[in-house]
Amino acid sequence: METFLERYKNIMVLSVVLLAQFLGLAVQVRTPAARGSDGKGVRLLRYWVVAMMSPPEKVMSHTGTGVRGFWGNYIDLRNTRDENQALRAQVEQLRLEQAALLEDAKQGHRLQELLDFRQKYIYTTVPAQVIGTGGSDESRILTIDKGSKEGLKRDQPVITPDGIVGKLVEVFPHTSQVLEINDQTSGAGVLLEKTRMRGVLRGNAYGQPQIINVLPDDRVKPGEHVVTSGGDQIFPRGLAVGTVVKVVSDPDREPYVDIVLKPAANLQHLDEVLVVTETSDQLPAAAQRDLAKSEAAGAEEVEMQRASDVLAEKLPGLEDPNAPKGDDASKDAAVDLRPLKPLSAARPDRFSPSEVRPAAQMTPGKAPVITSSARTNEPMNEGAQPVRRPKKPAANPNGATPTDGTAKPAPHVNQESFIIPGTATGPDKPLTNPQRTGASTAPEKTSAAILRAAPGAVTREQHQ
C-alpha cells in the first residue's frame, strides 16, 4: 500500500486538485442564473484576490493619473483663457438652443404622463477610476476604485459621457468589478434610433457588442445610432450605445441576424467612468436650475427680438418706399465712379472750361484761341460724360459743319476738368483744380505750362 501511494502520489495529487476544481466549476455553471451571482465561496475567493490586487493597482493608477494630470494641467493652462471664452460663448449658444427645445420637451413629458410612462433621469453619479482589467481578452471586466462604501450596488449602470460602458457585477467595500457591454455574458436593452427597432445587446466572441436575434430589415444601415431603450431596468433610456457597423446572419438561429456595433464609449481606453447610483422621475436640481436659466435666457432673447420688431415698425425707414426694388449688387453696380466733370454751360463763351483748345495745340506766348463753339454757342463737349444731351456733330474750327461724316470731334472734348468742392464757378472765377494744375503752389509757372498741366482750364492770368 505504501509503495502504491509512493509510486502514484504525483498523479493522485494532480487528480485531487483537478477534481476539486471540476466540482467547483460544475457548481458554478450548473444553472444560467447561477452565473449571475457567485456563490459564497467563489465570491470570497474573488474578494480576496481583488483585495490583494487593488491596492497596488490604485497606487499605480493614481500615480500615473497624478503625473499625467500635473503635466496636462500645466500645459492646458496656456490655452485656458481662450478656451474658457470659447466655452462661455458655446454655453450661451446652447442655452438658447435648449430653451428652443424646452417646449418640445415639456410637451413630450405631458404625453408621457398621459401614457403613464415614467422617464428615468440620471440623478446622481459617482465618478470612479478604472484601476484594472480582467487580464484576459476573453473576460471583459474592469476593476474600479469605488465600492459599497461609496454607495455602489450590484447592477448599477456604468457610463461615460460618450456612452454606456457596462454594469457592476461585483461590489466589494472599496472596489467593484464592471462587466463591459462587449462581454458575452452581458445584456442591455437597446433601440435603433431611426428604425426604432428594439433588441438585446450582448458581446460576441470577438469582443464586439452586437444586437442579437433581430429579424432582417433592409432599413438598418451602417452608421445608424443605437441608444438604450430603458427596457432592461438598468440603463436609463436614451443613452448612447454605439453605431451600427454591419449586419451578420446568425447561423445558429436562421433567419435571425445580429447587428454588430461600434461602441460609443472607447472601451479599450477607459480611465474614468461614472456609476449611476440613483435615477429619478424628476430632473436633478442642478439640471432644473440650468433649464430655468436657459428658459429665462430664451425668454429674454424673445423679448429683445419683439422689442426690435416693434421699433422697426414704429420708426420710419431709411429707405425710400417708392424706390424701385432691386438687389444690392445691381445698386452698387449702378453707381458711377468716374470723376465728376462740370456741366456744360447753357450759353458757352470764352470762359467756359471746355471752350479752350488743348495745350498741345497752343503756342507759348500767344493768347489762347477760343474755339468757334463759343462763338456759335454750340457745345463742343459731346464726349463729356456727365452731360446728357443728344449728340450733335462737332463743329470744325472754321465753323463749317461736316457733312461727309468723316469729321473728327475737336481734340479737347475728352479732356478732363474738375470741380473742387467749395469752388465757385462763374465768368470771373474759372474752373481750375489747384492741386492738379499747381496754380496755387507754383504761381511762377508760365501760362503755357499751366495749360499743359491742365488742358481745358483757363487761368486768370491767361485771361488777362
Binding site: V17, R35, V49, M60, S61, I131, G134, G135, Q184, A205
Partner: protein, 172 residues
C-alpha cells in the same frame, strides 16, 4: 549544448527565497490585470503561465508544480468574471507537465526553454478552449494562428523573465 540533462547537478531542484516564491506569482497576476489597461495590446502576454512554467521546471516536483499551477490559476480566475477554475485547471495541468519534463531535460538551456514555453503556451490554449467550449459550453472565438503568434510572443518574454528569475536562485 545538450537539451537533455546529462549530469546530476542539472537535475537538482532549484531553491528560491520564499519572498520571491510568494511575490512573483502575485506580481504576475497583478501585471496581467494592470498592463492591458494602459496598453491593450499587451493582453497577448500570459505572465502567470510563464511563472508557473518557470517555477515548476525549476522545482522539478510534480506535486509542487501542480499546486503552483492551481494557486496561480485560481488567482487569475479571481480577477475575471469567468467561473473560477478555468485557468486553475489549465495551469494545474501545465504545472504538472512542466515539472515532469523538468526531471528529464536541462531547463537552463535557452533552446529548451524556447521550445518548452512555446509548447506549453499552445497546450494551455488548447486546454482553455476545451474547458470553455465543452465544459461550460460558452461560445469562444478561436484562431490558432493567433495562438501561435501569442506563443511566439510569450517565448520572447519568457526568455527575459526566466533570465531575471535565474538571478534570484539560492546558490549552494
Amino acid at each position: 549544448m545538450a537539451v537533455l540533462a546529462n549530469s546530476r547537478r542539472e537535475l537538482d531542484s532549484q531553491q528560491f527565497p520564499w519572498p520571491i516564491m510568494l511575490a512573483a506569482p502575485l506580481l504576475a497576476v497583478f501585471l496581467q490585470a494592470y498592463l492591458p489597461l494602459r496598453y491593450p495590446r499587451l493582453d497577448v502576454f500570459d505572465l502567470p503561465l510563464l511563472v508557473v512554467i518557470y517555477f515548476s521546471v525549476s522545482r522539478r516536483s510534480p506535486i509542487a508544480g501542480t499546486l503552483i499551477g492551481a494557486v496561480v490559476g485560481l488567482l487569475q480566475d479571481g480577477v475575471t468574471h469567468q467561473p473560477v477554475g478555468i485557468h486553475g485547471i489549465a495551469n494545474t495541468i501545465i504545472g504538472f507537465l512542466a515539472a515532469s519534463i523538468g526531471l528529464r531535460i536541462d531547463v537552463d538551456n535557452p533552446i529548451t526553454r524556447m521550445l518548452m514555453i512555446f509548447a506549453f503556451t499552445l497546450v494551455d490554449s488548447f486546454l482553455y478552449v476545451v474547458i470553455v467550449r465543452h465544459l461550460i459550453a460558452e461560445p469562444l472565438a478561436w484562431s490558432w494562428v493567433h495562438q501561435i503568434v501569442r506563443a511566439a510572443v510569450n517565448v520572447a518574454l519568457g526568455l527575459v523573465l526566466f533570465a531575471a528569475l535565474d538571478r534570484t536562485r539560492l546558490r549552494d
